[in-house]
């Protein structure tokens, strides 16, 4: 998010450009030195709530010492990266826009509304289709892998040499994962992880580079197939959400920049505001396809993403979700040779909880709450461990080849641990009549029995979850379950954050289901007639909910997703209580996993509200100053210089009219964006040229849309020496009514404006409407409530 604050102090170039650059403000020197942050290793300093401020403090002494040598610190969570920019959610109501609106007929607006619905339908359809492809591919690849390994194990159980089977398994795993990790690490690092943090940021208004590109989608889909087939402790549900979002961003634009293909449709939607709405529909469609939970999808978008919401949008998003789950259903039914049977609504199917086993009693509610608390504790432990691991990875494992190696190692170790567990397990269970195990391994069990540990490890995680939910009581013995929980917990924690595309939903559910089932079994053992009501499957479900809630800390949407995925409304109350407790307990220790990763990515994320105890901060302290401004009629040379100044990568420039000759501060009359200026320069909209060539085509809003979203960099635009002397009239193109606030506005007020209106730049003016500063997203996001009160994050280059 380029803005004023990016100006680097040791550069002298910035001083030459811009309107009010050299003006010392508020009787101080123009640069701010943070003496504390430079010496401290954590790079933090605290702002106490101080009422007396000594403005006369002289601080030139250490200013010189640090000038010129940029301080470098190790990566930590309290940084804001310069890489991220804000999205332009605020509509620029310039004259072009007004003209277009005048030209557009009533019918035109109706058509827009219809095309919105069409797009949502398409989003749902394509998302469902992608989910279907992923499902089929994973099923077949994993099936093939398990078949080969099973044959091998059976062969070697008899003649000896099981360590070869172990190596075979590990190698197969590593090979799959290598493919997945290579495409992610070398082609599109943005596709790593579950993608939910990225989509969360996008919907919050942060432009994450390349997050909604077609390439990301391709890499994501292939990557997730590889990593699930490679037997990592991951799920394919999280990436579905990202995939849905990319589909939405692509479809709604009616073109693909990567494929250089423009269908000339949906041109009206080529701006951030419209795109954001579609992306939230895409995310919802993704959730819906992943869990077969259309309502859950809508609520997920609402809870995780949308700072911006209205009823019509909700209805459209719901439409997209429904279409998505229906499409998945339909195509899977064809794949399973039961066309028309619409009974497999999601990627993960929890199966149905039916008959008497679903009933729960009043006295079980406290037990559920205890489970919720346990889930919160375990989730907090998971997040803390993963936090340290991620920091280590960012600091030391940042080269792509190292990342690929790490992923392969994890895959190999996963196979090894699983094999060792299965090998040394003594838990043998008779084969059921309905053959619920897909790959039963006999190993050293008696004939007609299978190794119970193998159902948990020698299986795709989805199937393991289902068998934990639904296998009849007695299918697992407590020792097996506790060992499984322990190993899988650490494996999943180790796996999340690798450079592969993979989600954390399923592993969390699996861990939770395992200890939940264990809890149920113990309960049945220690209570009189416990075996009647303590059905292990029920407790497995509650454990899964608790663990997932403890890790990701979602509330409303997760409740609905779980209820929808199990198809059982009766469990609504217990699941809600469990998630509630898990969140309360977990939040006491550490944030949710996605928030941790957002922080570690140094994303300027705006939370729901400004940090408490920040009312004493005013816009004057928050804003960046001095501001680079343009005049209404500005010399082309000046504009080009400002734009091409690499140290001040500003994106918005207030347009001012000078008040008096003596005063450098100009009166605000508009705001113009970098992207607009670049389009203007590209089309050479100069005053002189317009005079000489009367027939020149007038620039339209369409020209700006065509360049969206990848505006060319300033370096690619050639401006000759003659043209530098020309003038440019910005009146027509600037936003004539930008939002402004007085200097005394408190931080929470500014925050609310940003959050509610989706602003990117907020001009701070004095009593005479003169521009004194500019507030941007990073100026607000840097304040957060730490252990010692209000803390401030630093900007860093990443």
């Amino acid at each position: 998010m380029a803005n004023i604050t990016k100006k680097v102090s040791w550069s002298s170039r910035g001083d030459e450009s811009g309107g009010g650059e050299r003006t010392p403000l508020l009787n101080g020197s123009e640069e701010v030195r943070y003496s504390r942050q430079l010496s401290g290793d954590g790079g933090m300093f605290h702002i106490g709530r101080l009422s007396t401020v000594d403005l006369e403090e002289d601080m030139t002494s250490d200013e010189d010492s640090v000038r010129g040598c940029p301080k470098e610190i190790p990566h930590n969570e309290k940084l804001l990266s310069l890489k991220y920019e804000s999205l332009d959610y605020d509509n620029s109501e310039n004259q072009l826009f007004l003209e277009e609106e005048r030209r557009m007929s009533f019918l035109g607006f109706k058509c827009l509304e219809i095309s919105r619905w069409v797009i949502c339908g398409l989003i749902g359809f394509l998302t469902g289709l992608i989910a279907c492809c992923i499902d089929i591919a994973v099923e077949n690849l994993a099936g093939l892998k398990y078949y080969v390994v099973k044959q091998n194990i059976e062969k070697f159980t008899e003649v000896g040499g099981l360590s070869i089977s172990l190596i075979l398994w590990a190698v197969l795993n590593s090979a799959f994962v290598m493919v997945g990790a290579v495409i992610v690490a070398f082609f599109e690092p943005g596709a790593a992880g579950s993608g939910i943090p990225q989509i969360k940021c996008y919907l919050n208004g942060v432009k994450i580079p390349r997050v909604v590109r077609l390439k990301t989608l391709v890499v994501k889909v292939c990557g997730v197939i590889c990593s699930v087939a490679g037997g990592l402790a991951v799920g394919k549900e999280g990436p579905m959400i990202h995939s849905g979002a990319v589909v939405a961003a692509g479809v709604s634009q009616g073109r693909s920049t990567s494929l250089k293909k423009d269908f000339k449709i949906f041109e009206y939607f080529r701006r951030d505001t419209e795109k954001r709405d579609f992306v939230s529909a895409g995310a919802a469609a993704g959730v819906s396809a992943a869990f077969g939970a259309p309502v859950g999808g809508v609520l997920f978008s609402l809870e995780e993403g949308a700072s911006f919401w209205n009823q019509m949008l909700t209805w459209r998003i719901f439409f997209a979700s429904m279409i998505s789950t229906f499409t998945l259903n339909f195509f899977l039914s064809i794949y399973n040779n039961k066309p028309g049977d619409l009974s497999s609504p999601g990627l993960i199917n929890f199966g149905r909880f039916e008959s008497d086993s679903v009933a729960y009693n009043l006295y079980e509610i406290p037990l559920f709450i205890v489970m919720g608390a346990a889930g919160g504790l375990l989730g907090a432990l998971f997040n803390t461990l993963n936090y340290w691991l991620t920091i280590f990875r960012i600091r030391y494992v940042h080269r792509p080849c190292l990342q690929v190696m790490e992923a392969m190692l994890v895959a190999a170790v996963t196979a090894t641990v699983s094999f060792a567990m299965i090998y040394f397990s003594n838990d043998c269970q008779p084969l059921g009549p309905d053959q619920s195990e897909d790959y039963p391994l006999q190993l050293f069990c008696a004939d007609g029995e299978y190794n119970s540990m193998a159902t948990a490890f020698f299986n795709t995680p989805e199937r393991s979850v289902r068998s934990l939910f639904h296998n009849p009581p007695g299918s697992y013995n407590p020792l097996t379950l506790s060992l499984f929980t322990l190993t899988y917990f650490f494996l999943a924690c180790w796996t999340y954050g690798l450079t592969v595309s993979a989600g954390v939903f399923i592993p969390s559910l699996l861990i939770g289901a395992a200890w939940g089932r264990l809890f149920g079994i113990l309960l049945a053992a220690i209570t009189p007639n416990g075996s009647v009501w303590a059905v292990p499957g029920k407790y497995a479900l509650m454990g899964a909910a608790a663990q997932l809630g403890g890790i990701v800390r979602m509330t409303l949407s997760l409740t609905v997703i779980m209820v929808e995925a199990t198809g059982n409304v009766t469990y609504g109350l217990p699941i809600m209580l469990v998630l509630l407790t898990a969140k309360i307990v977990g939040d006491y220790f550490v944030e949710g996993l996605y928030d941790i990763h957002i922080k570690l990515q140094s994303v300027p994320f705006l939370h729901l509200e400004a940090p408490a105890t920040s009312h004493w901060l005013t816009a004057r302290e928050v804003m960046g100053a001095p501001v680079t401004c343009f005049n209404r009629i500005e010399k082309v040379g000046t504009i080009v210089d400002v734009l091409s100044n690499t140290s001040t990568n500003h994106n918005g420039f207030p347009v001012v009219v000078p008040v008096a000759a003596s005063d450098d501060l100009g009166k605000i009359c508009g705001l113009i964006l970098r992207s607009q200026l670049i389009v203007l320069l590209k089309h050479k909209v100069f005053v002189e040229l317009a005079r000489s060539r009367l027939t020149q085509r007038k620039l339209q809003l369409k020209d700006f849309r065509d360049a969206y979203p990848r505006f060319p960099p300033i370096q690619s635009i050639h401006v000759s020496q003659d043209e530098r002397e020309c003038m440019m009239d910005l009146t027509e193109f600037m936003n004539p009514t930008p939002y402004t606030v007085p200097q005394e506005t408190s931080l929470p007020r500014v925050f609310k404006l940003f959050r509610a209106l989706g602003l990117r730049h907020l001009v701070v003016v004095d009593s005479e409407n003169r521009v004194v500063g500019l507030v941007t997203r990073k100026d607000l996001a840097r304040y957060h409530l730490g252990k010692h009160g209000l803390e401030e994050m630093q900007l860093a280059q990443t």
Binding site: V53, L55, S163, M405, Y423, Q794, L795
Partner: protein, 304 residues
């Protein structure tokens, strides 16, 4: 207080309602399963028990008009049904353990099915009467239907259809072949049973494995019935538990070695990347700010 009373009353009402419905719903099934034998006995012996005679006589002899009575033909059919029913059930009980319900009782099931088909067909018997309505569905209990249905469930549950050829006249060839193979294995077991089991494991392995393969083939073709499944289960248990012929866990050392090698790799990886990879540093950037911030920081400095 009043509210509590009302609530208690309501709850009591609810419970009462529940109890009512549940008894209504559950009773017939219980009656059937528990009193099945008694009813059976009643059917087998058409002569009424003298001690109960007084109760029944009242009902029986009060007499209904002619057209509501069950015709003689139907009573006759009912009696035959009763006989065959009892034959089949006796057969089932005697073949319960080890399970031989398909091979021993398919004949009597066939007979039973015949008579039931006869009863339930809608073609008219002598005297232009159809026994279907009068025997099967003229009362709430529908006893004949229930009785037959129970046995049919047993038949379906045991999947005897896969072992008995169509028309229920004989066992299928697959089944006979399986029996032969099974007997072969069992003879082998018998031969080597005395003395060392390891000899048995070695000698009978071929026949046992042949049996196992045959079984899994049949499993795939879905030509298994409970008889085969049970006998296979027993054989497997003999083989694995009694004779202890399953595979021993003999390769602990290589597996442990390979596993620990694998587990060692990541430690090396992380250590080396910690030691050799340069740490990623972030360049800090100082934003332009107005003066007042500075002062805050300084004061903070002095305080701390």
């Amino acid at each position: 207080m009043y509210i509590f009373q009302v609530a208690a009353l309501l709850i009591a009402f609810l419970y009462y309602g529940n109890a009512q419905t549940s008894t209504v719903a559950v009773n017939p099934t219980i009656e059937l399963s528990a009193d099945g034998l008694k009813q059976l006995a009643a059917i087998v012996a058409p002569v009424f028990h003298p001690s109960r005679g007084s109760y029944f006589s009242l009902n029986l002899f009060s007499g209904f008009p002619e057209d509501l009575e069950v015709s003689d033909y139907c009573v006759e059919l009912l009696a035959i049904f009763g006989q065959r029913y009892s034959t089949y059930v006796t057969c089932l009980v005697s073949a319960a353990r080890p399970v031989k319900v398909c091979q021993n009782c398919y004949g009597s099931y066939d007979n039973l099915m015949d008579i039931y088909t006869n009863i339930s067909s809608d073609q008219m018997g002598p005297g232009n009467v159809s026994c279907r309505d009068s025997l099967l569905r003229s009362d709430r209990l529908m006893l004949v239907f229930l009785l037959y249905n129970n046995l049919e469930d047993i038949w379906t549950g045991s999947e005897c259809n896969s072992c008995v050829s169509l028309g229920l006249h004989s066992l299928t060839n697959d089944t006979l072949y399986f029996m032969a193979t099974l007997n072969q294995s069992l003879r082998c077991f018998e031969k080597f049973q005395q003395g060392n089991h390891s000899a048995l494991c070695k000698e009978c392995k071929a026949t046992y494995r042949g049996l196992n393969e045959l079984y899994s083939r049949m499993e795939k073709n879905r030509t298994l019935c409970i008889d085969i499944e049970d006998s296979m289960n027993m054989t497997r248990r003999l083989w694995s538990k009694n004779f202890n012929c399953s595979f021993p866990r003999a390769e602990n050392v290589p597996v442990i070695a390979v596993s620990s090698f694998m587990l060692f790799l990541p430690i090396i990886f992380y250590l080396s990347s910690f030691l050799h990879s340069e740490q990623k540093k972030r360049k800090l950037i100082h934003p332009k700010r107005a003066k007042s911030n500075t002062s805050l920081v300084n004061i903070q400095d002095r305080l701390s």
